[in-house]
């Protein structure tokens, strides 16, 4: 858990490790590297020559702007609309040291060494999330301006961050996005200085290619959590702001805020989302069930108050889920009847093959209470109505029934035939009646017919020779040749030349 001692154990896939903070070796800012060198014991020199050198160093890190690629993820997602009840917004940054890279109070660290800074500042994060509800925006809009304008507002009622002389001239010329927040609003919603530590932490994630808890990032990240719940039914705007130079302006920070109506921040990121109006917390609502509607079996609420004269047996009927409903009898009489739906408070014994002809057949009579029980009658009736109301069901069921009848008619016909044939024809009981009749009939015929085979006269075919030349109008090849050679009209040659066919 410690920020300085990172264990060597690598994370298992799907594991997330939380760290309180991840401090950079040196905080960002302006440094002076001082080198002193004294050369001693040089021959011929009375005084040891001393050299010294000063080197100005600027350790730069995001300060007034933040590259968009630094933001890994925000929750609730930007522009999302959803059930973000009692959610604290958070932003995940790809630089694990980012929240601790700058000192929140750069002026007072002055000329301290980096070791002293570590001790005095207690590594207070310089970033925080500010959540504003729609009604509080009051025309608040991020404005682009130079850093110089951020530090020296033209409006004297706007409180700028106190960065002293830590800002270089070059930095002052750069552009940044700023927001001016009503100072009283800021004082009421901003975290206190001692709370900032709780609201920033580092996590190491090993998702191993798989999404775990909606996270698909892998590696080290810093996370900044807002201190304000999202408001349901409203647009919520979240701003990641720099608190650098604002330490004393934080709630209970001790700074003098009189004379100011607004406070100006460098805004590093922002997004908004809409939290839908929801009925309440999931767990909260479910845990409130016992106090509200209750967690019970499906039965009417206890009626003991009004049931002084109700026999115990009747109470039992109520207990297993029955209730009485108005019952209008066919003859017009008004009465009550027991009814219980399909959802019952006690297990029931299933009766085999229920089949009623009418719903009235399913009415039962309870002798103890002297009332009818209409439960199954009602079930039967609604089943019938539902069946009728679905034309496709009714049609297909009818068709199937008729097709089954046709099949059964054929089957029963066969049974009748089989009964009559039974004495004459051997029937194979293992076969379907129809097939057994067919087979039996075939066997019967083949057996009976073999006895009469001898009596049937054999028919031999008559050979009939036909002279092609004798057929009318048909000439042999030779005759055709002769006809052609003779030059006589062809038609005469077709005259019938009838001869006796019998030889």
């Amino acid at each position: 858990m410690s920020s300085n001692q990172v264990t060597d154990d690598s994370l298992e896939p799907g594991q997330i490790e939380f760290y309180s903070a991840c401090y950079p070796p040196v905080q960002s800012g302006n440094y002076r590297l001082v080198v002193d060198q004294t050369l001693k014991n040089i021959k011929g020199e009375k005084t040891d020559p001393a050299f010294n050198r000063n080197q100005e160093l600027v350790l730069s890190s995001p300060r007034f702007t933040l590259d968009a690629s630094t933001v890994q993820m925000v929750y609730p997602p930007a522009n999302a609309e959803g059930n973000f009840l009692q959610t604290l917004p958070n932003i995940v940054l790809t630089r694990r040291t980012l929240p601790w890279e700058r000192a929140i109070d750069p002026v007072n660290i002055g000329n301290q060494s980096s070791a002293e800074i570590d001790a005095s500042q207690d590594h207070m994060p310089w970033l925080t999330l500010l959540t504003l509800y729609e009604a509080e925006l009051n025309g608040l809009k991020p404005k682009q301006m130079t850093v110089a304008e951020l530090l020296n507002p033209s409006d004297s009622s706007v409180l700028p961050p106190n960065l002293g002389n830590t800002v270089t001239d070059e930095e002052k010329k750069t552009l940044c996005l700023t927001i001016d927040v009503d100072i009283s609003l800021f004082e009421s919603i901003a975290p206190k200085a001692e709370e900032l530590g709780y609201l920033n932490h580092v996590r190491e994630v090993n998702t191993d290619g798989k999404e775990v808890l909606g996270i698909d990032e892998q590696g080290w990240y810093s996370v900044s959590v807002g201190n304000r719940m999202s408001k349901p039914g409203s647009k919520n705007s979240v701003y990641l702001i720099s608190l650098e130079g604002h330490k004393s302006h934080l709630p209970e920070g001790g700074g003098d805020l009189s004379g100011y109506s607004k406070i100006r921040f460098a805004m590093l990121a922002s997004w908004s989302f809409i939290a839908e109006q929801t009925p309440g917390d999931f767990i909260g609502l479910l845990q409130a069930l016992p106090d509200r509607g209750g967690i019970e079996l499906m039965q009417m609420p206890n009626r003991t108050q009004q049931s002084g004269d109700v026999p115990a047996k009747v109470n039992e009927i109520l207990k297993i889920g029955y209730t009485t409903l108005d019952f209008q009898l066919r003859d017009g009489e008004q009465s009550n009847a027991w009814y219980r739906g399909p959802m019952v408070a006690a297990p029931t014994q299933r009766e085999t093959s229920i089949s009623y002809s009418t719903s009235d057949q399913a009415i039962r009579y309870d002798q103890i209470s002297g009332l009818f029980d209409l439960s199954y009658a009602a079930a039967w009736q609604i089943g019938r109505l539902l069946g009728l109301s679905d034309a496709t069901f009714a049609k297909q069921y009818f068709d199937w029934r008729i097709a089954s009848y046709t099949q059964m008619d054929a089957a029963s016909e066969s049974l009748v035939v089989a009964k009559h044939l039974g004495s004459t024809v051997p029937l194979d009981a293992s076969l379907e009646p129809r097939q057994s009749i067919d087979k039996g009939a075939a066997q019967f015929l083949s057996k009976s017919m073999v006895n009469v085979a001898a009596d049937i006269p054999t028919v031999s075919s008559k050979q009939k020779a036909t002279k092609s030349s004798a057929l009318p109008g048909v000439l042999s090849d030779k005759e055709i040749d002769q006809q052609i050679a003779s030059g006589r009209p062809t038609v005469l040659a077709l005259k019938p030349n009838v001869t006796d066919l019998t030889e």
Partner: protein
């Protein structure tokens, strides 16, 4: 038409034969199986699809606002329902047909009970075995409308190892959820639709206070919720809407966890709000049940 047999003999023979044929007829042996649409329709009807709500719950007192009611399904009721549907347009012969078929149809539907939900969801038929006992619950709560993707699991044992098949899970109205299990659940868990890892607090709807569930910050279970559930109250800054009093909340948590000062990593772990899970266990008074909720 003249016949070589006395007509009344033939008629009585035929009638007997028909009866025998009908008696022999069962759905399985029938060469003409029931059309698929009819089978599907009936198996859905058996799970009370399409039955008007007034028939299921005839009085509001059965299911008041913000309540959950567990029940057994009365098979006789649903059998009567099916029988009613099968008796449309019946003459005496159809009646006979129905009487001889109703058991076969009932058996077929018993076998199909388990696949109704999976086929409606476009999945392969579930392989689960059908159960004689069908139980379920009706939940009437604004949770139903507020958390549409709510997950339901029912277990046959209190240890939560034998998962029961869900035969039907459906919203009957915006705030009424019907769930039917193939079997008797000893433990029912309702889970909030999963969300990403995020931070937040929980609200006690009975007294409008806020709290967080405590998680282990050391040991093997680090990050897991401490069970049975323990809460630390979340404090808010006076006079402003929704601003968490971070220091005080962290102090509350530290006190409950018996640590002097909570590091911010541990604070982050405590503030994680995962999707909620609420269990209802049979035999345990519902009030005691509350603490079984997980984060």
């Amino acid at each position: 038409m003249k016949s070589w047999l006395p007509r009344n003999t033939e008629f009585s023979d035929k009638q007997k034969a028909t009866t025998t044929a009908l008696a022999q007829q069962s759905l399985a042996a029938n060469e003409k199986p029931m059309p698929k649409y009819v089978v599907n329709w009936l198996s859905q009807l058996r799970l009370l699809y399409g039955v008007p709500f007034e028939y299921l719950v005839c009085d509001e007192k059965y299911l008041p606002v913000e309540s959950i009611r567990f029940f057994y399904i009365d098979r006789n009721w649903s059998d009567a329902l099916i029988d009613g549907a099968l008796s449309i347009g019946t003459t005496s012969r159809d009646q006979l047909f129905k009487n001889s078929n109703v058991q076969g149809i009932s058996d077929t539907l018993d076998g199909l009970e388990n696949s109704v939900r999976s086929s409606l969801r476009g999945l392969d038929q579930s392989s689960g075995s059908n159960s004689e006992l069908v139980c379920g619950f009706l939940l009437r709560s604004s949770v139903v409308s507020g958390y549409p993707g709510m997950e339901v699991r029912g277990y046959a044992d209190k240890e939560g190892t034998k998962l029961l098949d869900i035969l039907r899970l459906e919203r009957l109205s915006p705030d009424i959820l019907l769930c039917l299990f193939a079997g008797k659940p000893a433990d029912v868990a309702l889970q909030q639709p999963p969300e990403g890892l995020h931070f937040g607090v929980r609200k006690d709807e009975t007294d409008n206070s806020y709290y967080v569930y405590l998680r282990h910050i050391s040991g093997d279970d680090v990050g897991m919720q401490i069970l049975p559930a323990e809460r630390a109250s979340a404090e808010f800054r006076d006079g402003t809407e929704g601003v968490l009093n971070v220091s005080k909340t962290a102090q509350n948590i530290a006190t409950r966890l018996n640590v002097e000062k909570l590091p911010s990593s541990a604070f982050a772990i405590q503030m994680i709000r995962a999707s909620g899970l609420q269990q209802f266990t049979t035999g345990v008074p519902p009030k005691n049940n509350q603490d079984n909720s997980h984060d």
